[in-house]
């Protein structure tokens, strides 16, 4: 039995580019469903060119709830489109979609939001804060490369087909773990470099000599200890007390104004 291929390499590249439309009509009821369907329409139209009923069914299935990661969604689209092309059972396609969109969202968040963004932003900002335009240029180039990889993921998902399902299950936790190690290391450095808390008070020592608390004590013992302590305090409130970030932002502003009022900072 030979399955005639209806889609060309070009169609898959187009699918990868169109995967950028994923959040086109994002809403709380179906999340990314509208854009998910929109991105796949040209490919689906080609697959079901002689089968209008098949197209309707495929469109209805692909309008169901989905919420996954925009940078990796091409992988899932490629995989599922290859199944549509082979005329697999609709239930299998739907089942795989439901089984995979969550884990892909998890890997994507770990890699793209919690690892790559702090690293790329950290490096770019260390240039930009010195007034160097190379900072934003690095940032935009990196993210353009990440965008181009969407096309690669889509081809990968399409070519691997069912095999990609096993691959994903086998490796997702190891990759997420390594990515987190990289991310946490960089965040440690970011806390030291970009959170600044300077104490103002000076102590009168005998003989009329003034000693600034910040330079004499904090800087000589452990320069960035206060930023780390404050960050961990925020972490504690967010994680253990479930305080909302907005509350923390507002209370940090109030705290800062108070400290500046009493002359501590």
């Amino acid at each position: 039995m030979t399955v005639s291929k209806k889609l060309t390499k070009k169609d898959i590249t187009k699918l990868g580019i169109r995967s950028s439309l994923l959040q086109g009509s994002f809403n709380y009821e179906r999340m990314q469903a509208g854009g998910w369907l929109l991105a796949q329409l040209p490919a689906l139209e080609k697959i079901y060119a002689d089968d209008p009923e098949g197209l309707k069914l495929a469109m209805q299935d692909n309008l169901e709830f989905i919420n996954t990661h925009p940078n990796l969604v091409g992988f899932l689209m490629g995989l599922l489109i290859s199944l549509e092309e082979n005329g697999e059972d609709r239930k299998l396609i739907k089942g795989l979609k439901l089984a995979l969109f969550g884990p892909i969202a998890g890997i994507g968040d770990a890699i793209f939001w919690f690892t790559l963004l702090p690293i790329i932003a950290g490096i770019s900002c260390s240039f930009a804060s010195q007034g160097l335009i190379i900072g934003p240029i690095i940032f935009v180039s990196c993210y353009f490369a990440i965008w181009l990889f969407r096309i690669v993921w889509t081809h990968m998902g399409y070519n691997l087909g069912m095999k990609s399902f096993e691959m994903l299950q086998e490796n997702s936790d190891i990759i997420a773990n390594s990515a987190t190690i990289l991310g946490v290391t960089v965040i440690g450095a970011l806390i030291a470099n970009y959170v600044s808390i300077d104490l103002l008070p000076v102590i009168q020592v005998s003989g009329g000599i003034e000693v600034g608390i910040q330079e004499a004590f904090v800087d000589s013992i452990f320069p960035k200890l206060l930023p780390m302590v404050y960050t961990l305090l925020m972490y504690y409130f967010l994680k253990k007390k479930q305080v909302s970030p907005v509350t923390l932002i507002l209370s940090t502003i109030a705290f800062a104004i108070f400290c500046s009022y009493i002359g501590l900072m």
Partner: protein
């Protein structure tokens, strides 16, 4: 300094393009670093854009839409931190504190869209059951256009229309309050990093946090690339270690099952 009408319109145009990018999360030109840089170029003060952008970007590092939650809006923060520093003449730290209300405002506008766009889904269902491809396209174009236009309007109003009000307000603030906002601007990134740690941190990652922190504390680096490379080395170290252990475990299991089949229970015990 004043923002001219042309500059205001250019900012609105930039906001429309950047707003679409944030809605789709495609090219990431919506991050404050890029938005502030573009704002700086439009206002003719690139350096101001770079410095306000760098600070705002890091304050927003942990405020991500991961998992379908909507954070304070990074686009408005990027525009307004630079604009406020430009029109009111305050420094980057104070501008960061002052841009937050605009960021919260846009966050709620987007949340409103998330809820109301659910109504479009009924039409999409009908389109799907009729195989109406054009209508699916139309619905997505409508939602994207609504988002894009609202970014244009909000940014034009906040930058061009509100500039005099803003600078009067900031100039009327006592110096102590401005200084307080500067202090806050220096501390605010801590919340972003705290949010990142909330999602990523487990006891087994504590050593890596300490390594990165110590390195930045006691080694003079002009940028963070060395830390990122060290982090990559640590990550690869762990990756290959885990892979090896997995393979060894697989082989061990294989051996045991071979021995079992041979019925020779005396081996290896």
């Amino acid at each position: 300094m004043q923002i001219s009408l042309i500059q205001g319109l250019l900012l609105a145009l930039a906001a429309i393009i950047i707003g679409i990018d944030y809605w789709l999360e495609a090219f990431f030109i919506f991050r404050p670093l890029v938005v502030s840089t573009i704002t700086g170029i439009i206002l003719g003060d690139l350096k101001l854009g770079l410095t306000t952008g760098a600070l705002t970007e890091l304050a927003f590092a942990g405020l991500t839409p991961a998992g379908g939650t909507q954070p304070p809006n990074p686009v408005l923060a990027g525009f307004m931190s630079t604009v406020i520093a430009y029109t009111a003449g305050v420094n980057a730290e104070a501008a960061l504190g002052l841009c937050l209300p605009f960021s919260f405002l846009m966050q709620y506008v987007i949340l409103f869209f998330y809820s109301t766009f659910s109504f479009f889904m009924n039409g999409a269902d009908i389109a799907a059951s009729n195989g109406d491809v054009a209508k699916i396209k139309r619905i997505n174009i409508q939602t994207i256009s609504i988002v894009a236009l609202s970014y244009g309007v909000v940014v034009f109003a906040s930058t061009y229309l509100a500039q005099d009000l803003m600078s009067t307000l900031v100039n009327a603030m006592p110096l102590l309050l401005i200084h307080g906002l500067e202090v806050a601007g220096g501390i605010l990134p801590a919340i972003g990093f705290g949010m990142l740690l909330r999602v990523m941190m487990k006891p087994l990652y504590i050593p890596y946090l300490i390594i990165g922190f110590l390195m930045a504390n006691f080694i003079n680096m002009s940028n963070l690339l060395p830390v990122a490379l060290l982090g990559t080395a640590l990550a690869l170290f762990d990756f290959f270690g885990t892979k090896n252990r997995k393979n060894e475990m697989k082989n061990a299991i294989k051996e045991i099952s071979i021995n079992d089949e041979g019925g020779n229970y005396n081996d290896g015990i």
